[in-house]
Symmetry: C2
Subunit: 168 residues, 2 copies
DNA sequence: CATATTAGTTAGCATAGCTAACTATAATTT
DNA sequence: AAATTATAGTTAGCTATGCTAACTAATATG
């Protein structure tokens, strides 16, 4: 398949990336970093996604399931907001999860319009299995980093996490 | 997600993430980091992707176009390999780009089976515009970080980039 | 009680991923 | 040289995800 026949290094998506400034109205460092961060995220997920399919469910479903497993039961609207998609999209995702018995749906007592969606035991199991597959691959590669690099990366992920949390 | 005013911490996709060991065959730090890294990448891209649609082209097309703009002309097979998708998928992506006149296709002299695909001026223009939109949003948020945090994050992205390069 | 708002669904469109089966060209074998 | 095999892309057809617009049902509000 992918015969590594090309030149040694030619990562696509790696624009200028040089460390040289270039006044652009705002901090040029931030701009260059944004580019590289974006690129890295794209490629990271492309790689990891390959393991996802082994669970038999697509990424959107696994991600929604993850919210339910780690965040507890939610209504459809809450799920849609958490996943940053529109209600019709989440409606279909939940329908798929329900068809596979990975989530269970009950009526909201007190408001018949709402639905309570919760992960079933099967759903929780599958999520953990999927996560293991996904993560194992990534972890295996991270494992080749030095302890310093690991620590650095960990600190950065934390920075990123806080940044994303306050995004809205 | 919903207003984060309920429980203290309830970011979805943020599993155990405990900092304590749990022998799992491999470095548990790497495993925990893999989880958080994966989560951060997912959410980062969800946010950024919203700007993509402003260009009128989907993410797969923009990504392929990016390879052409920064990596020069490619054959369809090369593009597919670079983007880690199968030839039929790339065939359709390229067809879409060609329909919008963002790439131009010429016959390979010497091998009539191959096609040379290159970004047009219009394609290059659109990519840069799209990238600006995408990145500006991200950069604006990165801008709120301290110089140290920026530097740390930058170093980590570099670590990640190298890691991804040697993935296959 | 009439109306407006809110929660979800349905229908219909587009993008993007895949496999299987096909066409056309090039390379290899006999 | 002819037959075979291998390679490059395409076509057809499936699934999954995303959207908007238009709908139904239930709740809230006047």
């Amino acid at each position: 398949m992918s015969t590594g026949k090309n030149q040694p290094a030619e990562t696509p998506h790696e624009p200028p990336a040089a460390g040289r400034p270039k006044p652009e109205g705002r901090n040029p460092e931030a701009l260059a970093l944004a580019n590289r961060l974006h690129s890295a995220a794209i490629h990271l997920l492309r790689r990891v996604r390959k393991q996802d399919v082994a669970t038999g469910e697509g990424p959107a479903r696994l991600s929604a399931l993850s919210v339910l497993v780690f965040g507890g039961p939610k209504t459809l609207g809450e799920l849609a907001a958490a996943e940053q998609v529109k209600p019709p999209t989440m409606s279909r995702i939940v329908a798929g999860l329900a068809r596979s018995r990975l989530v269970a749906i009950t009526a909201d007592p007190g408001d018949a319009r709402r639905m309570r969606i919760r992960a079933t035991a099967k759903g929780t199991r599958l999520l953990h299995k999927g996560r293991q597959l996904r993560i194992a691959d990534l972890a295996a590669h991270l494992d080749s980093l030095s302890p310093q690099e690991l620590a650095e990366l960990g600190a950065s992920v934390e920075i990123l996490r806080r940044l994303l949390e306050s995004w809205r």
